[in-house]
């Protein structure tokens, strides 16, 4: 089975897609490798949060996603 990576907000445009399926399990380095260099650069920046299975991770570098989990990449929300 697989882990689904979701690109939210402007990251969707940067990734060129809305979602991506990868092999489980998925950790932080696996994530950085899977999303392509542009999204990986954004991910490394502090302001992008990562949610796994519906919870925002306090420390995204400790990502540990299993079979069937959804990993959402959450850029800062918009102002205005």
């Amino acid at each position: 089975m697989a882990v689904t990576i979701l690109f939210l907000g402007p990251l969707r445009d940067l990734a060129g897609k809305q979602a991506l399926e990868v092999q489980a399990p998925l950790d932080w380095s696996g994530l950085l490798g899977a999303v392509g260099p542009q999204v990986a650069e954004q991910l490394a920046a502090q302001r992008v949060n990562v949610a796994c299975a519906g919870k925002v991770l306090a420390d995204k570098t400790r990502l540990n996603a299993f079979d069937g989990d959804e990993v959402a990449l959450l850029p800062p929300v918009s102002g205005g």
């Binding site: 907000g9 800062p76 929300v77 918009s78 102002g79």
Partner: protein, 156 residues
Amino acid sequence: MVARITIDTPLDVRLLDKGLSVGEALAAFNAAHGEAGGVVSFLGKVRPDGDVRALELSHYEPLTLPAMRELTETARDQFALDGALVWHRIGVMTPGEAIVLVATAARHRRDAFAAADYLMDHLKSAAWLWKREKRADGWHWIEPRGQDHEDIARWE
């Protein structure tokens, strides 16, 4: 007025993918809180700014609604509310359309005002919503801005 909307829970939190009828929503909220001395509402609409033709709000379902509910519960406890309504549009909207409707009912006026103000200041960061605008040259994502952090800092 025929009430086509009924509110039967003290905290009514919704994400709506279609237009909302503000008058009916507020009439229903008032009816649900007949004993509250004061009811405050805030309605935020898409402003017809420059050449903005449309606005799209996208969100992440598993986080947005739970976060809005949690925020609303915090507001209820902090300001002794009888009830609150927090409705947020998602999807594509045009200028003049409602984006957000917040209403608070409390025994005392000051609490109802403070709670509505608090909810609006915290909603944007709690709600995990991303916004983009359609202008003559296509869609543009709206960046986060410092004002939001200042708005929240008022309450700390």
